[in-house]
Amino acid sequence: MATTLYDKIWQAHIVEAKKTAETGEEGLMYIDRHLIHEVTSPQAFAGLDDKNRKVRCPQRTFATMDHSISTRSLALDACGPTNKLQLQTLAENCEKHGIELFPVGHQKQGIVHVMGPELGLIQPGMTVVCGDSHTATHGAFGALAFGIGTSQVEHVFATQTLKQSKAKSMKVQVNGSLPIGITAKDIILAIIGKIGHAGATGHVIEYCGEAISGLSMEERMTVCNMSIEAGAKAGLIAPDQTTFDYLQGREYAPKGDHWQQAIDYWSTLVSDANASFDTVVELKAADITPQVTWGTNPGQVIGVNQAVPSPGDFTDPIDKDSANKALSYMDLTPGQKLSDLSVNNVFIGSCTNGRIEDMRAAAAIAKHGKVAQGVTAIVVPGSVSVKAQAEAEHLDKIFIEAGFEWRLPGCSMCLGMNDDILTQGDRCASTSNRNFEGRQGRGARTHLVSPAMAAAAALAGHFADVRDYQ
């Protein structure tokens, strides 16, 4: 029978299978890689300790500090005693259970979804979990990667497995080549705009088509990262030469004879030509324009030159009601042009867009001018390694020269668990992944964009079409 990439990874990881007519395939899934951070692990470690249980495979588990840390100081208490306690708890738990930790100040520290791939910890065909919904990022390698809750983190600690029900499959095919000035962020926002904020609930997405296979690994990570923003359990891209080239020589990637064995296996990880999917969605790359969210979920998105919609544009009563609430929260008027909308904050960074290619894309725009008066713009590299590379390329100088702040790596203003938070009424062009109410600060308004679009908004002081810079 023809199988999908998801079927193949599922099949290779089921320790014990169950099949019921009522609920379909279920099974106990083996987990190859477990990434952890300070926010969603302390209660899981406490649960283990309560029952005198051990971490079964500490060597498959890697930890970093990213959410609760300052981007101005390496001091653990820079964001207060509660954050410090959480960070110290992670360090103590990792020490106790023999888990490798990349703490603040370490060469390998970074946002968990930036650090993992750059070290070669994520490889095709793996099952990867983390107590973090943006674990979907790692699907870019053809790994089945998904976010889990803290009880499941504890379950993986103790057993290196998870009970799973097989999800439905969705193929999202982006045909044709990408127009100039259009990025991976625009692709994924356009996809979410098309299928909706819950459009892929219960599904594992496989992205394919010419516009996807032409992407670099970092761009693929941006696409897969936001799979959860369409409700998907995971997003996958079949591994190919781009994937293998990225992995070769990375610290934790297979070496020597193992490299060839790995390539042989990884090359089998594609959906069969006649494999069937529960849902199929197609987009034309040529139709995609620079995307900007206008509402309070990532599905509420338009092209930069489109007008803000009116609730009357929606037929579904729930969409209409959501649009009404979003327009009010975002302080927008139907028909308004985005280029008339002033921003006073710009955030470039996050697990979606905090990699070196994102820094380069933003710097390429930043060098055209100065940050507009009244705008605070911060650039937060995704890891120590990204920061070092950017500095080697003098990108930091371009940013600083243009009036951006150049910060230390971390999750930062994507969710503001540190002091990088906005206040009531602030409007931010952000390269992060969620524009929920209050996400970046109570009463603050977030518009999701690509790194180049964020940099362009910083210079203009309002949203601007990045293609005008090309």
Binding site: Q59, S68, Q86, F146, S151, S165, G231, K325, L415, G438
Partner: protein, 202 residues
């Protein structure tokens, strides 16, 4: 883990809104704690309080309305719990006093987190939700009975059936220790590991 859920009867709170995300359920500033308890007072913080210090309740928000105090069932709409994987979301709902959530649909990670915390997520159709909202908005004291064993929701003379995966139902009914169950399969997990090619071993 606590003992299981079987039948629950209580009054309901109508949160008539779709796409309620986990940032609304429990905002990030409360995620720095290292314990599982004490999140109930921060539930729906941004909507519930007019100030950051939680001193001034928002009188317009349903959670603050006198007639809905003591509700143990939350009624809401589609895609409830979307967004982050934070288990602090079910912890805060549970700590506040909710035992059952009834919605048109739930986000996947949130749904699993509810099951792992003995919080029963019940999915009904939009039309059925319309009827429940109408009843509860008219009579806040209406008693809703949710029977997990027979998979039904009953109020007045209405009765709706709902679906739930067998493994989830069993776990909720018996309040099982999921980790303890899996640990009994330790030999099978070891056999799986021993069967991996050398380059895939840790």
């Amino acid at each position: 883990m606590t003992t299981g859920i079987n039948i629950h009867t209580g009054s309901a709170m109508p949160l008539n809104q779709a796409n309620v995300d986990t940032d609304q359920i429990i905002p990030k500033q409360f995620l720095t704690a290292v314990t599982r308890s004490g999140y109930g007072k921060h539930l729906f913080h941004d909507w519930r309080y007019l100030d950051q210090h939680e001193q001034v309740p928002n009188p317009d928000f349903v959670l603050n309305k006198a007639q809905y105090q003591g509700a143990s069932i939350l009624l809401t709409r589609e895609n409830f719990g979307c967004g982050s994987s934070r288990e602090h979301a079910p912890w805060s709902l549970d700590d506040y006093g909710f035992k059952v959530l009834i919605a048109t649909s739930f986000a996947d990670i949130f749904y699993g987190n509810c099951i792992n915390n003995q919080l029963l997520p019940v999915q009904l159709t939009n039309e059925q939700m319309d009827q429940l909202f109408a009843i509860v908005e008219q009579n806040a004291d209406a008693q809703i009975t949710v029977d997990l064993q027979e998979q039904s929701v009953k109020v007045n003379d209405l009765s709706f059936g709902f679906d739930i995966a067998q493994q989830h139902k069993t776990n909720l009914l018996k309040g099982l220790d999921a980790i303890g169950q899996t640990l009994e399969l330790g030999d099978k997990i070891t056999a799986f590991e021993n069967n991996l090619p050398e380059w895939q071993r840790a």
